[in-house]
Amino acid sequence: MFNAISKKIKSLSKKDILTWMMDNAIFFVLLGLLIVIISVSPDFISVRNFKNILAQASTRVIFALGVGGIIVAKGTDLSLGRQVGFAAVISASLLQAPDYAYKMYPNLPQLPLILPILLVMFVTGLFSFINGFIVAKLKVDPFIATLGMMIIVYGVNSIYFDRPPYGAQPIGGLDPKFAKFAQGYLNFGGLKIPYLIIYATIVTIIIWILWNKTKFGKNIFAIGGNQEAAVVSGVDVVKYLLMVYTLAGLLYGFGGCLEAARIGSATNNTGNMYELDAIAACIVGGLSFSGGVGSVGGIVTGVLIFQVIAYGLSFIGINPYMQFIIKGLIIISAVAIDSRKYIKKK
């Protein structure tokens, strides 16, 4: 076993290693980024910082994996952020602490967590199913279909949100059980692992299996890779598009509940513009709008890059406006480096 590996390593030529590094450039970008930050501010190395970054990336990973599947199938989803906001508002409104004075439903008994979460996931799943239907059946460009849905969901959410008795007030006073659901942690002999990280890990594993080991995964890659060829190969394009959109909706719903719970409150603007971050993380992580390519690992890396930039730049104390400039430069460079591999050796 060990022999085999060392033989394998020896057999690697310099060129192979270079190619391999190129193929995985985006991981090295992340590594490089961490090294720079650490060299500027050595106290960045701490379990706490890494835990913070991972916990903060958690909901974003969930969202990115949702829209990532859609992008693989050559779609896109602008409604992500508003669906997250919807999920956050509904779950928060149904899970306020029984003794909280400004409850949206003063007479609502304390519900078991699972109920509102499933309800929310059902509704966001439905929204996204409709997205899929509009795209797959009505042949509307996904950009427009989901832009429309984004506006509609925002409208619906605002109407729900801005109601008597308290009007458009942030919904707070969450049931402590609900808050703990996102803010709690597992204690592994002193090492506290936030639940958020655990949820994100589980979702990542499930999506990885779906993408790599199931018919569903192969079919969405086929649809994204060449829809016409997929039809001829017997892929039920409509069905799988519906599935991939719906799956995304379920993830937005679940992540949106987590978002409310981790923030501790929700408004109709919660989640605003999250789609941009999620989509960008996917593309930085190697997905392509032309469809058919991408990996779960890439998406997770993409999200982490964004998170490390956000956290790291603040941590080393860079002026917020400068942070924008640096963030922009890093994103472009990361992708420029990564896309070296696509430049056909001419």
Partner: protein, 506 residues
Amino acid sequence: MSSNNSQSKEKYLLEMIGITKEFPGVKALDGVQLKIRPGSVHALMGENGAGKSTLMKCLFGIYKKDGGKILLEGREVNFHSSREALDNGVSMVHQELNQVQTTRVMDNIWLGRFPKKGFFIDEDKMYNDTLKIFKELDIPIDPREKIQNLTVSESQMVEIAKAVSYDSKIIVMDEPTSSLTEKEVNHLFKIIRALKARGAGIIYISHKMAEIKEIADEVTIMRDGRWIATEFIENITTDEIINLMVGRDLTNRFPPKTNEPGEVILEVKNLTATYQPSIKDISFELRKGEILGIAGLVGAKRTELVEAIFGIRRIESGSIYLHGKKINNKNPREAIKNKFALVTEERRATGIFPVLSVRFNAFISNIDKYIKSNKLLDEKKIIDDTNWVINSMRVKTPSHKTLISSLSGGNQQKVIIGRWLLTEPEILLLDEPTRGIDVGAKYEIYQLMIDLANKGKGIIMVSSEMAELLGVTDRILVMSNGRVAGIVNTKETTQEEILKLSAKFL
């Protein structure tokens, strides 16, 4: 045109010497040479993946060669872009159609060199010049038609016209006839002869042996990225060419026909498509173990027929019986369930998944067979089957993980055929299956067809190559203008009879 008269026959128009080119994992060219005389047609031959297209792309500035020298009229050149190549008198008909589908024929012809009147494009000149070229070449296409409305062969003729219109010294034609019918091929040859007379050098790549014999003056043979031989065409026989190409003896072009048609398995009755013009009132039977050819001119709607059977086209009326039971292939999924398979005509549009691996491309149609009881896919079985495709079809690829788009055109085609064989179809529909396939591989495909027929499958093969229709089929259905012009027994028919039937309803 007469400037070349003074030059001796020994002066070369183009010399490519010691060209090498490497891709990750493949040495595509290894010291290849190619020398083209003025006023001659030089055939470039080799198996799929031998490196023919790559060599031409190095010439045309699409790829950068790793080593070697290119001399154009004795002067060393090294084009960095197609623009430079075109400006220096080299033009090319590409193996894969490279056209802007969303624009008009004339926009495509003049792309990169639009005529201008002051600041503006001279539309009238574009139109008139296009018309003139088309008239000269006898191509009946409206210059204002959108490319996406053309048939494959019409697009191909537009490409040829475009390459010719540059008035180049060197014209590369990479499998220009792969989607042309016999009649159009003759038409092309007329064009080529005129170019030759003008003193141009034509590099002609094709897998069709008969064409080579007819049109080429010289032939260069490549194998595995290496130069093997260059000969005047009169000094070499077809068999010798084939032997040099495949590196072994291949005396017969068609395997012995051992299949025996049995009882009827498929019955098509009065099939008419919904959206006309298309197929009308088509009826025929297919027997177990039979290979049924479908012949016809371009526009005969052969493609539509197989698409209709496979559930891609809506059917207005008529019915299909499998084993005497009426079936309804509403869509390809149903068709696959009913054990049909279809290798489509347009590989790039409806065949390959370009950004995905050979493995993915091989197993995707057969995916249901790999689902284990736990709903996950059986990775090992997938790899085994992919390897079966690669080996049995002799696909030239570094590994099953390679992206299919980096394979040579012919090898891509083999993967697609392999994909459908994995589904173990009972009825195999093949639309121009040997397009762009080398002789060796063709033989293998014919052999496969016959083997499948021997196993009791029914095979329908649409083809524009008369020789192969006559060589491997049992019966031939001749279509004309969407209708059945006749069904003949292969053994008893002739090329003439088929051609006559093809024109029946025109």
